[in-house]
């Protein structure tokens, strides 16, 4: 089950915003369609991210995919343990596999509620 307090991008990133801080990750749908994950590259604390633009990259055995930010702002924390524990993404994509915490200055206008994101995934197949 996807948490009902998250919002989603069609590119399969999620964010949960609390007190102006967004926690960002990728969804179970994204993980299941990438197959075996091998590398993850995330920005460092202090970096800036912009909604709709790439903030990192993830490599599965067969594909490199860009990761897109749901918000703009400054990265205040990056899950540095995640690249060495990529199995977390399959186990808890909305929990311990979070990727970034960002001090939000702007949100993407394209964020979807859970029901709309579910429908989007269904349409993608």
């Amino acid at each position: 089950m996807r948490p009902n307090d998250c919002k989603f991008l069609k590119s399969h990133e999620w964010c949960k915003i609390e007190n102006g801080i967004a926690t960002i990750g990728i969804t179970d749908y994204a993980v299941s369609h990438l197959s075996d994950l091998v590398f993850l590259d995330l920005p460092n604390k202090g970096a800036s991210v912009t909604f709709g633009e790439s903030f990192g990259e993830i490599e599965s055995v067969k594909a490199v995919s860009s990761l897109y930010s749901p918000v703009s702002g400054e990265v205040i924390d990056s899950n540095k343990n995640l690249p060495d524990n990529l199995e977390w993404l399959s186990q808890e994509p909305f929990g311990k596999a979070w990727m970034l915490k960002v001090k939000v200055t702007a949100k993407s206008p394209d964020l979807l509620e859970g029901a709309a994101y579910d429908a989007h995934c269904k349409a993608e197949g």
Binding site: D41, E59, V61, K62, A63, V64, S66, E124, G125
Partner: protein, 227 residues
Amino acid sequence: MAFDAALLELAATPTLRLYGWQPHAVSLGWFQHAADFADLPAGTQVVRRLTGGGAIHHGDELTFSLAIDAAALPTDVAASYRLLHDAIVSALHAVGVPCRRLDAGEHCGARPAQRWCFAEPGRDDIVTERGKLLGSAQRRIRTPRARVLHHGSLVLERPPLTPFVAAVADHLPTDPALRAALRENLVQRLADALCLPWHADRPTTAELARAEELAPGYREPANIARR
């Protein structure tokens, strides 16, 4: 490599590019560390590849890149490989090269431990009795639109730095007639698999200009060594 990146960004229609390598060169996968290849023979040309996976020594081979909207391929990465690789197996069979796609159920490495792409055949790779015949990798982007770049390196003659690879030459003389038949079959079978008509075309001015702009990122030693 820069031209493939330009096609990924700009090609207005599904585009299949066929090419070879002069001089022969080693391409590093996007996440690979250049320092892990410090033992290459002096003078070896090295470039960075936009797609992931292990390094490839590009010698006498038929290389292709497919730049296409993501919606034209299965969303599932593995399923997209099966679609394209089955078409390539069909093209190879048509010219008389015995090969097959490794099924998911077979014993093969899911997570490559080797630095060379061809060292360890994995799920859905195309192999012969001797080993891996085709190296493949993808790059997927979502903006400005959802797109996929699929790279393939089909070995014609075994390159010296990776003597463990399979090659078309293990089965047939790689004369001009065979090369032409391979190209023709590859294009047709991939077009059939994607349900697309095809015609030969030339790069646009915008694609060429963008490739020039991007080229330093793929060929300059400082950029290649950034990881």
